[in-house]
Structure formats: structure tokens, C-alpha cells
């Protein structure tokens, strides 16, 4: 699933201008606890979150997360967007709730890194 696909599925708006929309996102992780993201996310994945502070972008940077989707129309401030832009981490915002965001992406085949045996 590409960033373009994700943007379309979520009816999301891109907050950053740079970044390759054709890059493939293999996995996603959803959390509002950054230590959980640092512990359980995997590289090159998508982060879905309702938090919008600068530490979210820092977390994505150190954990090698490819892009971030903010749910429920929550938007980070301009400094945080600028930092993401500088670090080449595309940001998106969707009006959908956390539940619906994850649900729609799951429905279209996106998974977390954990086992999907159930």
C-alpha cells in the first residue's frame, strides 16, 4: 500500500509537501503512547495517532517510521510540521476517528507487525 493509497482510503490531507507518495508502506502501528511506539513499531511503517506534539515526530524519526496519520482532524503546530518536513517524514490528517482510520486500512489489507494468526 502506497502513501497515495492511504491518503485516498482515509480521505486525508497532506500537511507536508515533500516526500515520495509512491513509497510502499508495509505495516502500521497505532498508539498514543510514544514508549509503546518505540517498543513495538517496526521500521518503515505508518504511525496512526491522536497526539500532535513535536515528540511524535521525534519518535517517528528515531524509530524509522515512514509517515504519520493524525486522526480526528487533529493538527500539529507549524513548528512540528516544519520539523517533519525537514526530516522527510510525511504528515497526514484525516477527519476519521482512530477506530475508523485503523478499520479502513485493515480492511484494505494493511497489518501491524504482530502475528495475524487469529
Amino acid at each position: 500500500m502506497t502513501l497515495d493509497d492511504i491518503k485516498g482510503i482515509l480521505g486525508a490531507l497532506a500537511l507536508t509537501g515533500r516526500g515520495d507518495m509512491k513509497i510502499d508502506i508495509g505495516r502500521a502501528y497505532c498508539a498514543d503512547l510514544m514508549s509503546d511506539v518505540l517498543a513495538f513499531s517496526i521500521t518503515n511503517s505508518l504511525l496512526i495517532t491522536g497526539l500532535t506534539n513535536a515528540q511524535v515526530v521525534r519518535t517517528a524519526e528515531v524509530a524509522d517510521i515512514k509517515a504519520i496519520v493524525f486522526v480526528q482532524n487533529k493538527r500539529p503546530d507549524i513548528q512540528t510540521i516544519a520539523m517533519a518536513e525537514a526530516k522527510n517524514i510525511p504528515l497526514f490528517v484525516t477527519e476519521l476517528s482512530m477506530f475508523d482510520t485503523c478499520g479502513r486500512l485493515y480492511e484494505r489489507g494493511l497489518r501491524s507487525q504482530m502475528g495475524q494468526t487469529v
Partner: protein
């Protein structure tokens, strides 16, 4: 770059606007040396958790790194309240973080366990009322982990 290299970043308590910039800079330095991405990720995550702890709990501190062909060593030394019971602080989920820290996405009590998980060696020394030193080492040798 293959020789030894070291440096220091200064950290200010409650400076949330810059929180994480030391770890971000360290990540850039490791990338320049051509260290494998998975090792850089482990070092950056450990450094970031330790840096956030200094910002959240201490008054001020510093992050000192030394990189040799064999290992990355990072020492975070702070002036702060110290940790009364390190064994307890190491437990997953244990946290004394106030609510406003939780609202920022930290304070889930996973920071020190995350450092331990990502480092090959972790040493914590703390004196209540004075401060804390967190030191971790990540091996760069193939047999290191």
C-alpha cells in the same frame, strides 16, 4: 569514518520544544559513520528514552557519547531528584510521571525497559536529591548480540 569519536549535548529540564534533539543529532552522527540501520535504530531509541527522562524528571543534564569501531557508549548524567528504587523504576509500567507528561505520550513506564531492550549493557547509578547517571553500550561487533 572509522576512528574514535565523542561529543556531548546539553539538556535542560522541561525544555519540551528541544526534547529529542540530542538523540536526533546522535542519530545523524551514527548515520554518517555508516553504521547499520538496525543498530542505529536501537541506539537512537535508547538515547531518546533516556533523553526524555532527563527532560521530564531532572533540572539539567548532558548526553555524552563515544563511538569506537567496537561500540557506541552513551552516558546521560543529570542533576535531579534521583531514583529511590532502581529495581522498581525498571519494571514495565512503573511511572511517577504527572498527568501532563502522559498527555504528551510519555509516562507509560516503558522508558527504562525500552533502553534495556535495545542496549547490550545498561548501568544506572542514582543518588536521591542529587541526580542520575544512565549509561548504555551497544556493540558494533558481529558477535555482540
Amino acid at each position: 569514518m572509522t576512528g574514535d569519536e565523542d561529543g556531548v549535548f546539553f539538556l535542560t529540564g522541561k525544555d519540551f520544544a528541544n526534547a529529542g534533539s540530542a538523540s536526533s543529532n546522535l542519530k545523524g552522527i551514527l548515520e554518517k559513520r555508516g553504521i547499520p540501520a538496525e543498530i542505529i535504530r536501537r541506539a537512537s531509541i535508547a538515547a531518546f528514552e533516556a533523553e526524555m527522562n532527563v527532560i521530564i524528571y531532572a533540572v539539567a543534564g548532558m548526553m555524552h557519547y563515544t563511538i569506537t569501531p567496537e561500540r557506541i557508549k552513551v552516558v546521560l548524567q543529570d542533576m535531579g531528584p534521583g531514583i529511590p528504587d532502581i529495581g522498581l523504576a525498571m519494571q514495565e509500567g512503573y511511572s511517577t510521571a504527572p498527568d501532563y507528561i502522559r498527555e504528551m505520550g510519555f509516562g507509560s513506564g516503558m522508558g527504562l525497559p525500552n533502553i534495556k531492550r535495545n542496549a547490550d549493557k545498561l548501568t544506572i547509578n542514582s543518588v536521591v536529591g542529587e541526580g542520575t547517571t544512565v549509561e548504555f553500550v551497544i556493540s558494533l561487533e558481529r558477535s555482540g548480540r
